[in-house]
């Protein structure tokens, strides 16, 4: 399966996309590590792919008028961006201390477990950053907050739709907050959990400068006269919800199974929208492993 992911990575390097999304990570896996549902787990690997944009937002401030209606109206800037990122945990602190890291038959995680995490991430094509995350469980529910600091350079496209380093943004430093909470229900005898989470998150949309052809050669039919188009950077708050599915181990059979420690995986889908004047939306799909 990792080979498939590597192929996906290679394919994505050649793929073209329009705008960039910058947003914080999903915190549902951090919640599972904070609860220590797989006792002794501390390392998290997230792979996230997402898509978002807006079909009828005016970000550039451009206006237009027609012969029928001479009054200027704001144009719709069609925004659509993608994100593909990998997150790794650098530092994990959970509380209370997990006594039975080898597992137990009736172990169901820490009822009031909490955790502080520091993740590092890399996102296509040239973005990296750090994300501190805080999670606290209160019985069946948890609250979480994550703040991502990203440093990235985003590339525009030339008139032939090819990525151009000449049209890249300067190195941008952005911050994206994600606050919310969730709940999860565990079928502990099987090692399966199903959960929902939601919250409010900050999302950045970046369109670097680019070029577009503005004319056509009437003799050859070729497009001509490329002109620079100014990009933009906008950010907004989106309400979102997500569904989580996890599989984990916590039975005391480490020696019998020749396992070094307990582990788990999570599959998560998120969707968000901004309901007011600018209807930004996004979808994100995350795979996580916690070891």
């Amino acid at each position: 399966m990792f080979k498939v992911l590597c192929v996906l990575l290679i394919v994505l390097t050649g793929a073209t996309w329009a705008d960039e999304l910058i947003m914080s990570q999903n915190f549902s896996t951090h919640a599972l590590v904070a609860k220590q549902i797989a006792p002794g787990s501390s390392r998290i690997i997230d792979i996230t792919t997402g898509y978002g944009g807006c079909d009828s937002c005016n970000v550039t401030g451009h206006t237009t008028s027609t012969a029928d209606d001479l009054k200027n109206h704001y144009t719709d800037d069609e925004i659509s961006g993608m994100i593909f990122r990998i997150d790794l945990s650098l530092f994990t602190l959970t509380w209370p201390k997990t006594e039975n890291t080898e597992g137990a038959f009736n172990y169901k995680g820490n009822t009031f477990g909490g955790g502080l995490f520091l993740n590092v991430h890399y996102a296509f094509l040239l973005e990296a950053g750090l994300t501190p995350t805080l999670v606290q469980w209160f019985g069946p529910f948890y609250v979480a907050a994550a703040y991502e600091l990203s440093l990235g350079k985003y590339f525009g496209k030339d008139a032939d739709e090819k990525m151009s380093t000449d049209l890249a943004t300067d190195i941008m430093l952005t911050g994206a907050l994600n606050v919310g909470g969730g709940t999860m229900m565990f079928l502990n005898n099987h090692g399966i959990g199903i959960g929902i989470h939601g919250g409010l998150r900050q999302m950045h949309f970046v369109r670097p400068d680019c070029e577009k052809y503005t004319g056509t050669d009437y003799r050859t039919g070729d497009k001509i006269n490329p002109k620079a188009q100014q990009g933009f950077h906008t950010q907004d708050w989106l309400l979102y919800y997500g569904f989580d599915f996890t599989g984990y181990s916590n039975l005391p059979f480490l020696k019998e199974t020749n396992s070094k420690g307990h582990s788990g995986y999570t599959v998560s889908i998120e969707s968000g929208i901004q309901l007011e004047d600018r209807p930004f939306y996004y979808w994100a799909f995350t795979w996580s492993f916690y070891l």
Binding site: N188, N189, H190, G247, Y248, T257, N258, V267, I269
Partner: protein, 452 residues
Amino acid sequence: MRKLHVIAFLIIVGLLLSGCSSIMRPPPAAAYMDSYNRDDAVRSFSFTYYAGNLDNGRTDNHDQEYHINHSEWWGDGTFANYISGGYFAFGWGLQSLTTFLQGGFVSPYFGLTTWTNFFPINKFGPESSSNFMFHYSGGGMAIQQIPLNDNWKFGITEHVARNGREEYFVDDVACEMFCLDFPRPRPKFYTEMGGGIYVSRKLENTKMSLEFRYGRDIDENRNRFAATFSVWGFSSAIGVGGNDQMRKMAKENKEKQENTKFAVPPKSGILPGAGKAHIENVSDSSLGIKDIDYRWFRIKDTTKVTTFLYKIRENLDDTTKAIPSNGICYDKSQDEVLLRQREDSSIVRIPITDIDYCEKTEMQGFIGTSLLEGALMFLPGGLITGSATGGLIVSAVTTAGFYTALKIINPQVPKVNGDICTEPHSTNLTREWFKQYPCAESNVKTEGGNVQ
């Protein structure tokens, strides 16, 4: 854990690409209630027959542009899986062409469940609407169950549901370009309230139930009745759970550490490690092997046996192993039992202290499985061919095909359940029992091939 994320990925993809249909009616209750507090998964198969005031045979014409044929399915085939976490059960399955999810509270005497179809990508419809309620069917059911004895249970159900049924949209306007002029199915939903009763019975390895349900369509004032026959068994829980995988791996590794032999031996020749216990190249008649009905024999010292050992009861601390045999005799001079092994008919010698006799063996038949598969293919076959006769033909072919394939692939296999060999016998009692099958005098070939 490496394969778990692949399975999870497939589950998510299945969810996203869910269902060709959005219509659904209440699932059976008995198998759901039997999932209480189990570590393994309930796998159930059901067939439901609907009767009463079904909406069949009517046609609605609409402005000469299209008409709708009313055709309500009279049957459903339901495949459902349930896993439980104590008092909570979660299930998923397929009802005819509709994928669904189910879950709720379950206990030995009371259950509460809700179900919903997956939200299919079906944008077609006279209303031209793709909102939630156009694709949703589901409901809730309360179940009260009374165990009558170890084998029989009786249950009462009450339900309220948004059921779906089909109607077929047919274009009446001629078109010039590519035309979709075959009847296109559309869901039609109605609200139903009702109740039912069921009885369930435990068999050797499976359970079955018969359920009757009445439903009142409060939208169109119709009465509908449903009769459901269900069969279910238990199997290892789905592999996406980490603890299921861990339990399975622990058992496998423990068995490997105990050096239990699981390989089917070759047809002839001394087997590696068989040692003094294996007897070769001597006919049964010269040994005095007596033919008996297949019977289970519990083996205490598994090193003497070279054939497949059946695990009668699976616990991490105590696993009972036994083999079936239909040829035995008792060698009084050596105080040993000669036993014919089933797979290759080779003879092994086992000291009387290491063997115990148990119940007669029942072999798994394939008729039941084949008939069930054939019966389940009747409905899809009828839908595909468009006639009941076609469904019967598909069903018969499926039955014959399954029976033939199972016979070829699987010779008769003994049924294994947890009730075998639960009553141990003392060595003296065991000896007395085996004495009724004495070996021939001066018969046995020991190691090195010397006949005494």
